[in-house]
Point group: C2
Chain length 190, copies 2
């Protein structure tokens, strides 16, 4: 049974709907890929936006592609305090009732009513990995990280799909708190 | 046997030697207390300094009193990356071989040869608490935090002294990664 998998630290970023992309960057705008991400089909873009909350602004937040059905802003707890919005831990896509922010692009701005989340840590894995690790989509597992800042992350959601690549995703604060960097191996505990 | 204790999140700060205080703020300068901290005799000061590293500067870093024998800068891993110094996890006081930074005050500046640490998480407790928790100075324990971001912090140093108040100290990134705020109760596990 496999137990080790790589970890990746996600910095703040935004996913955009086509409607919001049109407003922020201009009608029929298309994203400019700069780099493929580890999850198949996902990519970092040249485009950046500013995120404006009631108490502060974070400039230069990276857009990730491709376009999604709903705009979603993913920030850290520290970012939420800086913006002046409540840090709400959610799984990606589960944005109902989460805080809104203003998003400012070069051609326009969008006032989101909701969609600002602190992403809950999770593991992506391919169906074949699911079999190797003995877990299925939706399982909750623990992940142990060794070292000076050794931690066990509990309450980690496993997401299994045929287009996922094996990787645990945490945000920068979680990664730093555990003393890990991109690509370090961590241990799945059931 | 007690198991619960309060947690506190430490923001970046600096402790100064009298020599460095003199250079930064003027000869025979005395710190101005704004607030007592939870540990007896420790206090936050009105004074702030700028910390300059090879890659960046962090302005307005709070001075904590009283004066210590050696100047010590305590930052997060993110701060270390921003400054461009290696993030080195150390216990307070154990600064040998740690990175140096430049400290800038209103009256002068100091080039530290060492003393920049990311503080290792730890628990302060009074001798009486040590007996209640069944631990002694220098023990390494685990601490469990419940909630959406439930974690177990391993490798937690216990410091027992007659002038310590019961409290676990983590940095902002560790606290946010665990979804806790100042004063939340956490569980000591032996």
């Amino acid at each position: 049974m496999d137990t080790k998998l790589p970890i990746a630290l996600s910095n703040r970023h935004i996913h955009l709907s086509q409607d919001d992309l049109n407003i922020l960057f201009g009608e029929n705008y298309e994203l400019t890929k700069t780099k493929d991400l580890s999850q198949p089909g996902q990519f970092a873009c040249e485009e950046k936006v500013d995120i404006v909350g009631p108490k502060g602004t974070i400039n230069g937040v990276r857009v990730l592609g491709p376009i999604r059905s709903n705009t979603q802003v993913e920030i850290s707890v520290s970012d939420a305090f800086k913006l002046g919005v409540k840090p709400v831990i959610r799984n990606s896509g589960d944005i109902k009732g989460t805080p809104g922010v203003k998003v400012v692009g070069p051609k326009g701005e969008v006032n989101l009513e909701e969609g600002t989340i602190v992403a809950a840590r999770h593991i992506h894995m391919h169906t074949i990995d699911g079999e190797k690790f003995g877990v299925k989509d939706g399982d909750i597992v623990k992940v142990k990280i060794e070292g000076m800042r050794s931690v066990v992350f509990e309450n980690v959601l496993v997401r299994v799909k045929d287009n996922f690549a094996l990787e645990m995703h945490v945000d920068i604060e979680e990664g730093n708190a555990a003393g890990v960097k991109n690509g370090d191996l961590v241990e799945l505990i059931k």
